[in-house]
């Protein structure tokens, strides 16, 4: 979260831009902006265009948001299912066998595959972040390449495990 002061400045700057825009629109011609600070004069003609779904995200951004998404999936679904599965697998040989039967159902396998992907993506992207923390691969090109590798490696490993599941 940004500090209060920065947010306040950003808010007042947005307001100044909005007023500038309205004045320009009403006047129908560029107004005299000699009274404005240089930063605002330069910023004025640029459109504010922040629709997340219409901005083409770079690959590291996609890997980053998938890291969050996979983490949330693991927290909400992965952990309780894993605890349940380990509990059933240890309780008795009967419950072990019935767990195996449950995991063998196609719909459960599909869910499992999704969770496996979430784990693998989170794992691979996490290792990438650890490397970035150690200042390895922080330049633009290797950073793009490594995020592409994270996407591909986690998908390929998911496919391999999926092939073994079926």
């Amino acid at each position: 979260m940004r500090p209060l002061l920065v947010r306040a400045v950003a808010r007042s700057r947005d307001r100044a831009l909005a007023i500038l825009f309205l004045q320009t629109a009403i006047a129908g011609a560029p107004m005299s902006d000699s009274g404005l600070p240089g930063e605002l004069r330069r910023a004025a003609p640029r459109p504010v265009y922040l629709n997340l779904f219409r901005i083409r995200q770079p690959i590291p951004a996609i890997v980053s948001i998938l890291h969050r998404l996979s983490g949330a999936i693991l927290f909400l679904i992965g952990i309780p299912l894993l605890l349940y599965a380990v509990q059933q697998s240890l309780a008795s040989s009967d419950s072990y066998a019935s767990l195996q039967a449950t995991l063998g159902r196609p719909i459960v396998k599909l869910l499992l595959l999704g969770l496996v992907w979430a784990y693998l993506h989170h794992f691979c992207a996490g290792i990438r972040y650890l490397l970035l923390d150690m200042h390895i691969g922080t330049e633009l090109k290797p950073a793009r390449q490594s995020s592409f590798a994270v996407l591909i490696v986690s998908l390929v490993l998911t496919a391999i495990i999926g092939a073994r599941l079926w």
């Binding site: 969050r68 983490g71 949330a72 605890l83 697998s89 240890l90 309780a91 072990y96």
Partner: protein, 117 residues
């Protein structure tokens, strides 16, 4: 006049570090489990329960679980902080997250040391 540093409150760096340390613990446990499965050429009921009969493996599993829960707390809190603007809703979600994670931890202890385990 008191000299105050107005930038970089430094709160949060412990969480940042904990996120990394717990990640390494989880990665090591994952590799350990994978190594055991490969070494034994697969897992069946007998070898699986024998593995969990080992006190050292139970403790390693508990450490893994605690790393997961701590890691999940920091991650989920970051998500709530970034996307949930109303403070009351955010606080509610954070408290629920803590409760869920403590419940997960109790469940794990029961699985590892409970009567059924």
């Amino acid at each position: 006049m008191v000299a105050r540093i107005v930038v970089g409150a430094h709160y949060g760096w412990k969480d940042w570090l904990a996120q990394r340390a717990t990640a390494v613990v989880m990665a090591l446990y994952t590799l350990l489990l994978l190594g055991i499965a490969v070494y034994r050429g697969g897992i069946d009921y007998a070898s699986w329960t024998a593995l969990f009969a080992h006190p050292a493996f139970r403790i390693a599993t508990l450490l893994f679980g605690l790393a997961v829960f701590w890691h999940a707390w920091i991650g989920m809190r970051d998500i709530w902080m970034d996307y949930v603007k109303p403070a009351s809703l955010r606080l509610t979600l954070e408290v629920l997250t803590v409760l869920v994670l403590v419940a997960y931890a109790a469940w794990l202890v029961e699985v590892l040391w409970g009567p059924a385990g």
